[in-house]
């Protein structure tokens, strides 16, 4: 995995609460067996007419936001289905971070596994960023994972919480699977002391 350290990016606002993962990537696009190629269907039902033409009034279709890499959303982003296709679609469309006051648990985990930063901020910062993005599409923020700070256009630094281990993995480009594999002895010891209750291979 590519390390994630610090970057700057233009913001785009979707000030809607409770954006669920069915909106981020509708289920009919989940018949793929690949994780690439989902970006074009990000927010598909909000982004395209029934015949497939892009809706001019949808924010991500506006040319002025074409280069945005930081999505500023309403509260409780990513609720609903556990589909990791949601962060895959966001990453596929070029996003590197989502700003919200809160994230659904599974979405947060999935995002962190894919180098997409869930930046949890207070409501005032969220609202300030939404206004800024709507006023000026060129508005840029800086994200520093090392110091866990989001720097606003006015120079104000806002901290964001992030699980320490996920941060370590992101900064060093390590994935969690490799770490779990290194714990083979611990896992084996647990299994030795806890006999299995069920065996799915045994014919019932």
């Amino acid at each position: 995995m590519e390390p994630v350290t610090a970057f700057s990016g233009q913001i785009v606002a979707m000030p809607i609460n409770d954006i669920d993962t069915d909106q981020i990537i509708p289920a009919r696009f989940l018949k793929t067996t690949d994780s690439a190629g989902l970006g074009k269907n990000l927010f598909a039902d909000w982004r395209y007419e029934v015949d497939g033409t892009p809706r001019a009034d949808f924010v991500l279709n506006q040319p002025r936001h074409a280069h945005a890499t930081v999505l500023v959303a309403g509260d409780n982003f990513g609720c609903g289905s556990s589909r990791e296709h949601a962060p895959w679609a966001l990453r596929g469309a070029g996003f590197r971070a989502v700003v919200s006051t809160s994230f659904a648990d599974i979405f947060r985990n999935n995002a962190l596994q894919n180098g997409l930063l869930p930046l949890q901020v207070d409501e005032e910062t969220q609202q300030q960023l939404i206004s800024l993005a709507q006023e000026d599409a060129g508005t840029t923020v800086a994200v520093d994972l090392e110091t866990q700070t989001l720097t606003l256009p006015d120079g104000r630094d806002v901290g964001f919480p992030i699980d320490g281990f996920a941060r370590h993995c992101l900064l060093n480009g390590i994935d969690q699977l490799g770490f779990l594999q290194s714990l083979e002895d611990d896992i084996f010891a647990w299994e030795e002391s806890h006999p299995a209750r069920v065996n799915t291979l045994a014919s019932a």
């Binding site: 000030p15 809607i16 609460n17 409770d18 669920d20 069915d22 909106q23 509708p26 289920a27 009919r28 989940l30 018949k31 793929t32 067996t33 690949d34 994780s35 039902d45 029934v50 309403g74 509260d75 409780n76 609720c79 609903g80 289905s81 556990s82 589909r83 990791e84 809160s102 659904a104 648990d105 599974i106 985990n109 999935n110 596994q113 894919n114 699980d163 320490g164 281990f165 370590h168 994935d175 969690q176 699977l177 770490f179 779990l180 594999q181 714990l183 083979e184 611990d186 896992i187 647990w190 299994e191 806890h194 299995a196 209750r197 069920v198 065996n199 799915t200 291979l201 045994a202 019932a204």
Partner: protein, 481 residues
């Protein structure tokens, strides 16, 4: 302090503590062992790709079970008894599942085979879901299995890979939340109404970061299938998982199922399960209390499961909400749903009624719907689909003649699967259509692009199918009891 000097522990504490492979150390969170990993075709292919790329095996195929449910058609079998898959992408995805299970020695319940069904129906049905276990699946409704006093939660595809390769997960310990439902339910009010009322109360983000334990007389009075309905929708309140402490109801349900322990092993297992309920004095980070006597049939009016109300209430008015973002959210939802503030939903015409999904597709759900349908007809304007949760549920329903009740009423009797709950298998609403659905999500487009869903119980769904419009089951003649 309890007698042994330890802090009194909750059901969740006991299950969590007994699965810690490694406590938090050097900045890494808990490593938790996973007893049972359920796998389906939609969220697993990329995880198997990772295993192949790294040359890894599935560590414990004997703790893994795969089924086909999400992208599978539910159309009746052909003359050879085969369920055809006309969608090329779905067929390819199912083929990948088949190959992955073969290559990695994982048992698979193939489409149409005797035990195939929705992943959260088959685990309990086979007796694989047992109290005190940790269970995961790449599916948010894994919380269903918590009805047995298991810790069961949904994970993403990367984590599916972690469990396939190591049978373990890195997990932050969640907070605890008690939801107590006191008293007794009135006639016509079901487990589905309990959970819709809970979510309306706490909101769809209300349980975020928490595991809910459901308790109280009304929960204890539910059968296992009702408890599964309640735990199933924990995620719709944002919770990581939902749990119910095991009791005689739980033990009776498991006894004799294919993978249930037998003989002396059974006795030892039951003794261990009896130790799982929370200790006297155990505390929770949050508590919510509802009175079952106050509950009525529920229905949703909006575009998330938290937008629910008593079926007799009126659609709320965005202008009466103080919070601006909440007002905008409700405006947007009512606009999508084509509803007016202050409107009653009783009598609102619907086009489709769907009985099915991991929330409400078990035999007791079908019996409830059939009880209402018997001797009645589905309104001419309504398409009603009844989709059993598994092949086993289907056979049981047919043995009881329920399929005949549905068919005689004019409903479609289908093969097992997720079907119109997620609408990726061809079973879907058309743009603008209204549906009463026993499933778990009324998100925009969830049941088909432009489709509009009202979530409700099987009783409400059946009553609405007959009347062709949203109906309070308690108003049907002969349904007073």
């Amino acid at each position: 302090m309890s007698e042994n000097g330890q802090r009194p522990r909750t059901l969740f504490d006991k299950v969590w503590d007994s699965h810690v492979v490694r406590p938090p150390a050097n900045g890494a969170p808990t490593v938790l062992y996973i007893d049972l990993h359920l796998v389906h075709e939609v969220t697993s292919p990329q995880a198997f790709t990772t295993l192949r790329e790294r040359g890894l095996k599935v560590r414990r195929p004997d703790r893994t079970l795969a089924t086909m449910d999400h992208s599978t058609p539910t159309t009746p079998r052909n003359e050879l008894g085969i369920i055809l898959v006309p969608d090329a992408m779905a067929a390819a995805q199912l083929e990948v599942m088949r190959r992955n299970c073969e290559d990695f020695d994982i048992p698979l319940y193939e489409l149409g085979s005797e035990n195939q069904g929705i992943v959260h129906v088959i685990g309990p049905e086979q007796g694989l879901t047992q109290p005190g276990m940790t269970i995961v699946c790449g599916d948010s409704h894994t919380s269903t299995h918590g009805a047995f006093g298991a810790l069961a939660f949904g994970i993403g595809t990367s984590e599916v890979g972690h469990v396939l390769a190591t049978q373990s997960l890195l997990q932050e310990r969640p907070g605890s939340m008690a939801v107590r439902v006191d008293g007794r339910l009135q006639a016509g009010v079901t487990a589905k109404d309990i959970i819709l009322a809970v979510i309306a109360e706490i909101g769809i983000g209300g349980g975020t970061g928490h595991v809910i334990e459901y308790m109280g007389e009304a929960i204890r009075s539910l059968g296992m299938e009702g408890r599964m309905t309640v735990c199933n929708m924990s995620i719709e309140g944002g919770a990581r998982a939902g749990m119910v402490a095991p009791d005689d109801t739980t033990i009776d349900y498991i006894n004799g199922r294919p993978y249930a322990p037998r003989g002396e092993t059974w006795d030892a297992a039951v003794a261990a399960w009896r130790q799982l309920p929370g200790d006297e004095g155990a505390t929770y980070d949050r508590e919510v209390v509802l009175d079952a006597a106050d509950l009525t049939p529920m229905i949703t009016y909006g575009t998330n499961p938290g937008m629910g109300m008593r079926i007799t209430e009126r659609v709320p008015d965005p202008d009466r909400l103080g919070d601006l973002t909440a007002k905008l959210a409700l405006d947007k939802a009512l606009n999508y749903m084509g509803l007016q503030p202050g409107q009653s939903l009783l009598g609102k015409a619907v086009d489709v009624v769907f009985v099915g999904s991991c929330t409400n597709s078990r035999i007791s759900d079908l019996r409830e719907a059939a009880r209402i349908m018997r001797g009645r007809k589905v309104a001419d304007s309504v398409r009603m689909m009844v989709v059993p949760g598994s092949q086993q549920v289907k056979r049981q329903a047919e043995a009881e003649g329920l399929d005949e009740v549905f068919r005689a009423a004019g409903a479609e009797w289908r093969e097992a699967g997720c079907s119109m709950c997620i609408a990726m298998n061809g079973d879907q609403l058309q743009p603008g259509q209204y549906a009463v659905s026993t499933s778990n999500r009324n998100f925009e487009g969830r049941q088909g692009k432009g489709g509009r869903s009202f979530l409700a119980s099987p009783l409400t769904a059946a009553a609405s199918a007959i009347k062709g419009a949203i109906t309070d089951v308690r108003s049907l003649q002969g349904e007073h009891a």
